[in-house]
Every structure is written in C-alpha cells, then in structure tokens.
Amino acid sequence: MPIKPSGDVRPSEITPKEIYLRRREFIRAAGALALTAAGVRGPALAEGKIPGIRKSRYSTSEQPASLKEITTYNNYYEFDTDKYSPAQLAGRLKTRPWSVSVEGEVKRPRTFGIEELLKFPQEERIYRLRCVEGWSLVIPWVGFEFNQLARQVEPTGKAKFVEFVTALQPENMPGVRLPVLEWPYLEGLRIDEAMHPLTLLAVGLYGENLPAQNGAPVRLVVPWKYGFKSAKSLVRIRFVEKQPRIAWEKAASHEYGFYSNVNPEVDHPRWSQVTEKRLGEDRFFPRVIRTQMFNGYGDQVAGMYAGMDLKKFF
C-alpha cells in the first residue's frame, strides 16, 4: 500500500454521490432492520433535524465518512476506553435540560440553555478530524463559531485563555469510576485559538442533533488540533488569565501538551505522527496517508504560531 498525500485521489476512486448515498442508505436501513429483528437497542442516535443550516466555505470537499462510522468509533472515556462501547453506553447521558455556564474574565457572564445555543445561526462544517492515535475521519459537523458566543459575554483584557469543562454524570457514566483521567475532563485553548473562525461549537452531525457518543448536546471542534482537544458535552466555559492544565497533560505531560496541534514533525513519544489511517472511505482497509501540518489548516492557522517553537510547545 503506497503512501499518498490525502488529496491524491484517482477519479476512478470517487464514487458518484447518488450511488454512495444510496449504498449508505441501504446499509443503514439493513442495519436498523437487523437490530430491530434481533430486539437490540441501536446506537444512541439523537433525533431531530436542525433547521436552516447554511453551507460554509470552510468545509473540505473530501467525502465525509458515513453516519454509522462516525457514531460507532468514539473516544469518550467517561463511558469506556474502548472506542466501540460509547455508541452503546452513551444513551444514558442526560442531555435535557442542559445549560452551559460562561464565566470568568468576561463583562457579562451568563448561562446559555441548549435551546438558546441551537438558535445561533447554524452552519455545516465538513472538517477533517485527526486523532492523536493516528487515524482520521471526515465529519460533517453542524454548529457555529465559538467567537459568536464569546462576543455575547464580552471577554475582558485579562482573558488570555479559555477553559472548557465537560459533563460529569457519575450515575450515567460507568467509565468515571476508574481514575483513567481526572474528571470532569478539562480542555483549554489560547484566546486567539478559541476566537479563530475555524473553532466551532458543534451541536449537530449530518444535519441532526449530535448523538450522545459524539459529545451531545454541544461540543468543541478544533480541526487543526488532535481530536482530544475537541472536548465533548460542555457544561462550563471559563475565560481565564492563566493557561489551564488540560486533562491529558495532567495524565501524561511528556506525551500530551497544551497546544497539541496536528504536527507530523513532532512525534508522540510512543508513535510517529507522520502518517494517518483515513477511516470511513468504504474500503477493506483504510488508506495510509501523510499527515499534514495543522491537519491541512495551516493556511488559516499557522500565523497564530509564528515564531513559536512547536517542538517545545507541542
């Protein structure tokens, strides 16, 4: 299997859209039928179409993975460290009522109910998601830019970083019984990263509400960073002066840094980041492709890191 850059796709490899849609429709229908017949509860899928979704110029033209692939392969350690389990377990997550408290170094701290967040103008953003484990998926998120929310609370001059705190529901999350990570899971961004137009608060996937295992009801999506930076199921957003210590940094600071930008030149101590397996392309085995600097979003984001030693600030 030769390694090709991700953009290098032969025309013969591209399936016409009607055909792949039909095929996936068929697979999904067959799967649902089989599950119903077996009396098995399917993966936790949220219902509900999100109205008035606009297209975005920030979307990649690459083919998104199917809904099934995106919703059955999830790192959601609060449920289980296995990637196939959250699809079965995350249905227990209580997502209504839900609110996100936005606080800290802001002039107008306030709490947003999920209904209010859904009223922001929603866009479809088809992004590449590159996991630190060496795989990637193309995902059609629905959401809005984080800076739109920030504007409403008016960060002060002291707001240098943003801290994202995620849900902790011990009665619904079997994974938090073990101290695998520090709970609640905590993430953070530098203020300019958070305010960047690519940084998304996602509320949906494939035009519908986010499934629980993908971080319902609202999550962060930062496409030029490794997937764990895109914290799921947010409950609190704090504008702060000091750089937060994120969950993975606390767990293994020599392996995971605060920035965690996708960078093929900085290896994870235990594995190379030069290549990735692109999942969800309907093949027997995923293609091995070269990982791009900033996950291919360098044109938009590289400026934020000008003059920074990215080997030191990994």
Binding site: M1, P2, I3, A65, E69, I70, T72, Y73, Y77, T81, K83, Y84, E133, W135, L137, L178, V180, L181, A251, D267, P269, R270, W271, S272, V274, T275, K277, L279, G280, F284, F285, P286, R287, V288
Partner: protein
C-alpha cells in the same frame, strides 16, 4: 460437606487415570481438533474483513486481534508444563510445539499487518519506529527472538542441537512472553486492564516454575 473433597479427589484421580491413559490415536484426534480450532481467530478476521464487519478501523482491529492471539498462544504454550505436572497428563506435551508454532504464526501476521496496513510499507518510518519507540523496540525484539525458536522446533533440530542446548535456547520463550506483555502494556494510552490480565496469567505461569525450581532445590 466432608464428602465433597473426597469426591473431588476421587474424580480427580479418575480423570487423572483416564487422562494419563490416553491412547496415541486419541491424542492425535485432540491435536487435529485443536489445530483447526486455532485457525478460528484467523477465519473470523478474514470473514470480518470481507463482510466489512470489523468496525470503523479494520486495521486496528486486525492488528490488535493478531497481537492478542500471539499472547494467548504464548500463554497456552507456557501453561502446558504446569498443567501436565498438576494433572499428570503427560500427553499434553505432544501439543506444546503446535501451540508455540501458532504463537509464531500469529506474530508473523501481526508484524506483517503492522508493516503493510498500519505503516503503509513506509521503509523510512518503520525502522525509525523500531529504534525510537520503546514498545515497538520490545515487540520487534520478541518477534525476532521467536524466529530461531520456530526454526529449531523440528525433531531433527532437537537432535542436532542436543537436548540440553535446545532447552537452553527455548527458555528464551520466558523473555519473549514477558516482552510481549510489556509491548502491550506500553502501547495502551491509559486503561491498563487488558495488559494487566496477561501480566497476571504470565506471573502465575512463571511463578509456578520458580516455585517448582525452589522446591526441587530444597
């Protein structure tokens, strides 16, 4: 209640006697059955790939499953001696080479999957991985160490080397098994449950030998 241990002892003696008296043909049948059963994990993987039922990341699934079965067969191989001594079923020894060769069979496929499907035959990245990543260094070393063991597994090789030297060489399997568990342990990100289970099983299998050796000396 007092009867239970006696009955259990009786049953154990009965099975011991029956087990010890197994005819050569019966052992051959058991061996043939286990030979086929040992191929089942591979058959499941092949079917899964063809039916696309291995989930979103088939490469990862195949790689992990082949690694798992390498460790399982290493443990089974190492379980033969303790089991034989505890039960008196000496015929178990006749299965040991097959189990060992299956461990080698699965590790060859595990390594091939890593080289071809996981790393995409990247001739630059693979040697660098092996040198730089401790878990791959350990895994690769164990794989290489298994080659001479597989190559000297025939009766002719036992004769050529002489029993003593052959046994000395094949004691490497202890280090290989420990290295295999370390390889798995160092690979996982946070949740060490699975490698810990292998470590416990291996500790029991190797601990038995240490105890037996200590008892023989005293």
């Amino acid at each position: 209640m007092a009867e239970v241990p006696a009955a259990a002892r009786g049953a154990r003696q009965a099975t011991q006697a029956a087990g010890a008296r197994l005819s050569s043909r019966s052992v051959g049948r058991i061996k043939a059955l286990l030979f086929v059963l040992a191929l089942a994990p591979l058959a499941r993987l092949v079917a899964g790939v063809l039916m696309r039922s291995l989930g979103t990341n088939p490469t990862e699934f195949v790689l992990r499953t082949l690694g798992d079965w390498t460790l399982i067969f290493l443990c089974i191989t190492l379980a033969v001696t303790p089991l034989r001594k505890l039960t008196g079923w000496n015929w178990l020894l006749r299965l040991r080479r097959m189990f060992g060769l299956y461990a080698f069979f699965y590790v060859v496929m595990h390594f091939t999957t890593y080289v071809v499907l996981d790393r995409g035959l990247d001739v630059v990245a693979i040697p660098r991985d092996i040198l730089k990543r401790p878990f791959i260094t350990v895994g690769f070393t164990c794989f290489v160490l298994m080659i001479p063991l597989a190559a000297t597994s025939t009766n002719a090789m036992v004769r050529r080397l002489g029993a003593e030297r052959w046994q000395a060489l094949h004691r490497f399997v202890y280090f290989i098994a420990i290295g295999g568990v370390v390889h798995f342990w160092w690979l996982v990100k946070r949740d060490i449950t699975q490698p810990a289970i292998y470590a416990l099983v291996l500790a029991a299998l190797l601990g038995y030998r240490l105890l037996a050796a200590a008892r023989a000396r005293s």
